[in-house]
Symmetry: D2
């Protein structure tokens, strides 16, 4: 007996839920959870089906492909742990949160490596017996630095790359190597305060709420599909530095929540948005 | 072309989603939205299916009953507006919120009447051209009062009775006339502070958060299945009276949200809990 | 015995709290509540002192002015109800909320009049025996329309003008007549989605949280000092219209909360931010 | 130049703010922040004053004591880091959060030791070069076990003891040794679900919100003065185990927030409540 998750993402058509569940039924696969969503403007159908049973992936997918419309995407995902590479700069909180959660099993991931453009977090990482690669950007062009980063990332063949307050901008070329595989935490409530120093921007605007946003990285800075967001209240007592300090707890819980949803195969990308089932 | 909502609540079995959606498909009914949930401990299956098409209720339900397990409940609900009777005492905020929302269409309900054990809210009610019945409890036993209340309620044949800060306890006999049809707002975050003066209790306990809970009324005071809850932060600056004042905005938005879910046919009762699809 | 609120807003200096409270003490005025804040970057001092006693405003203020630094602002405000003019367009929810709250005393204001550029909300307003002025913008230039609006506003000599989903942009000339006296509710979490159709913008950006912001109106659209903000979670199930529907409850509670703080003399303006004591 | 925090907790009297700030002024101590609160029912005055300057503690306190009413408490606290002993059982999340925060300076504390009744968290603790004491309860009476715990605690002379999901009940005798010095995190939104298995209780009650509460430990289980609380929404999809998993992020952020407030000398105890300035 195995557990697998079927993700279906296809043009909507009449009777899809019926057809897909029929096929599961026919293959004697028990549906533990099923969630579906139809995006009406785009007429796109999404379904996430947790299945249990004895799988013959090939025949099952053959039947499925036969039933689904043209232009469909479907994935049958095993329950193996996802492999993750984390990229960091200097701040410890997001990395520390993920390290502890992987350590105690709250996040079902294998952290294969941590890469930092500074070595500030080497000590913390190595406490958890995880390889740390210090790949400094100093003296290198952006392209040279990214080539070095990619070389290390690709050693580990990760399912996802997590930018845990990694502060350097990644070029489209880098991003193109890992489409919808790079998760970033931006320390503001997007689309407010994109770019640098969002807490200072927030302070100057006099907002009464600050937040953090986890999103997939695309070519446009802080513009990729949003996965999770959360906020906390602030007031006139908070200067930019206070906002940053309070904001850290939100950043880490938002990043870790988004990562949890992604590795749980719950996140579909629809244009520049996400559907989370 | 009509729109109807199918609610299914039955013992779980293999292939249910498949069977039900097949039948919709067979009857050429288009599924606009579908949400399902299986409660594993109780092995109970719930599904809410918004359908659009030309309906022949009789043949559709016949096919459905044939496919569903023994002990199943299913309802095919038209999109007609729900009829509601509201019961009040003296506080205006919950009633006022529902009156304005029914007036501007935000809540798709028909307020057939308002009943108050005081006449304090008669003026406000009649501004909206809704009949107000002042049925005082003074000088009557609980049973006599409730007989008078029921007589008026039943005139209107409401789908739901909403206790909008109606402050008198209802007997099991009254409740039994309207099983899972009475929605109450309790001014605390249940199960904390049941019974009287919850804000005073909250103040004395020194909580830093207060809330409100909308629930179906059962025989046990404030113990029925919870539909919606929400909270706001408070601090040492709030005495019980301040908590009550701030709490009112939560009470009314929680009640109105719960009422919206109920009239949208989204709320299933499972034991003493609710499943909201 | 009277109650008054003293607001002090001045350049910071050593011993200010001491000096001001000394003067209250000397004049036998009892301090019921005191809140102060120093904005360090600007070296600006703010204090809000609720006083009770027998007041001789003139001598008290004389002593105070003598003690405060140059360039200080101070106000001794009686506890009389604030007069408010509300401006509306078509949506009922914010207006309805304020009407009910003024009616039951939750908001300690006198609504002197409601002005609408459509007459859609005339019926609702007149239910509460409040004068409604329908001042259409059609066929008039912006200046002509605003001249008509101002003429009516000034009849009532309001302390504040509340834009309760009033949807037309006001010119700098209009705003200049009522500096920091116009409170607007913008249906987004500023500074995200300024301008028109913020819910559509929010939907397209795929945010997972939407909000509303109450702020003082300045010359720049949606850029004035923020008073209050709040948010609610949304997800892929919400199209722009669903976001708008859910957003209304946030809009009205944020506007009403901001209005409550303002009429309670708790809001100081500091540059483009607010200090709320 | 030094920074110190003055905490005043005394019977209310006329002119207190004036008198206290006068004394600061007289001693040439600059007030950086000042927050005060009067609890009217108890006529108790609280003030927290952050001061900067050259201190002569003795003469300053002499003047202060002379000015304050009988039965006053005042403390002039240096800015030295607080010493903390953490007690744990098996769950890592709260401990891990505090370890990382102390490591990166977000929490300004010195973790002198961690004591666990199991050794499950020894590895994690020692990664941060902090002594771990495994003091098993097995085979010992409650009194014997607590004697062993106290012996170790008192070695370190901590300012505070933090129960980071330490799961054994402490006797009044233990608590009496550390009055208002023991901070516990309870995994529910008190006063709901006191005692054991609160997530199971929450699941059975069908609540739509779960939370966590940090409080000072007193003789009564989960009844001590509440410092901080927070909540997250849940729904029918969450079984007790899911609630526990989601709840952990709330538990750790609530505990760490409460600890931050306490070591920042912001928390006063008033009866069974707290005043946080």
């Amino acid at each position: 007996m195995e557990k697998k998750t079927l993700l279906t993402d296809c043009p909507d058509a009449v009777g899809l839920i019926s057809k897909i569940t029929n096929i599961c039924y026919k293959h004697q696969l028990n549906i533990i959870h099923n969630n579906e969503f139809v995006d009406n403007p785009n007429q796109q159908f999404f379904m996430r089906t947790e299945l249990e049973g004895v799988f013959n992936d090939e025949t099952f997918l053959l039947d499925l492909d036969h039933a689904l419309p043209q232009g469909s995407h479907r994935q049958l995902i095993s329950s193996a742990r996802k492999r993750v590479v984390i990229m960091v700069t200097k701040e410890a909180h997001c990395l520390g949160d993920i390290l502890v959660k992987a350590f105690d099993g709250s996040l079902d991931i294998e952290i294969t490596a941590v890469i930092g453009n500074y070595d500030a977090l080497q000590g913390l990482t190595e406490k958890f017996d995880i390889p740390f690669h210090h790949i400094s950007h100093e003296g290198l062009s952006r392209e040279e630095h990214e080539a070095a980063l990619l070389a290390v990332v690709q050693q580990y063949l990760p399912d996802y790359v997590v930018l845990a307050k990694y502060m350097r901008i990644l070029t489209p070329e880098f991003v193109a190597q890992l489409p919808h595989k790079i998760i970033n935490i931006h320390h503001s409530f997007l689309p407010a305060f994109i770019g640098a120093k969002p807490y200072l921007q927030a302070y100057e605007r006099g907002v009464k709420i600050i937040g953090a946003t986890a999103h997939f990285v695309t070519n446009d800075l802080d513009e990729g599909p949003i996965i999770t967001q959360n906020v906390i209240p602030v007031d006139h007592n908070f200067n930019a530095s206070d906002m940053a300090r309070s904001g850290r707890d939100v950043e880490k819980s938002v990043l870790s929540k988004a990562l949890g949803l992604v590795v749980d195969d719950r996140v579909f990308v629809l244009g520049n948005r996400t559907v989370i089932l």
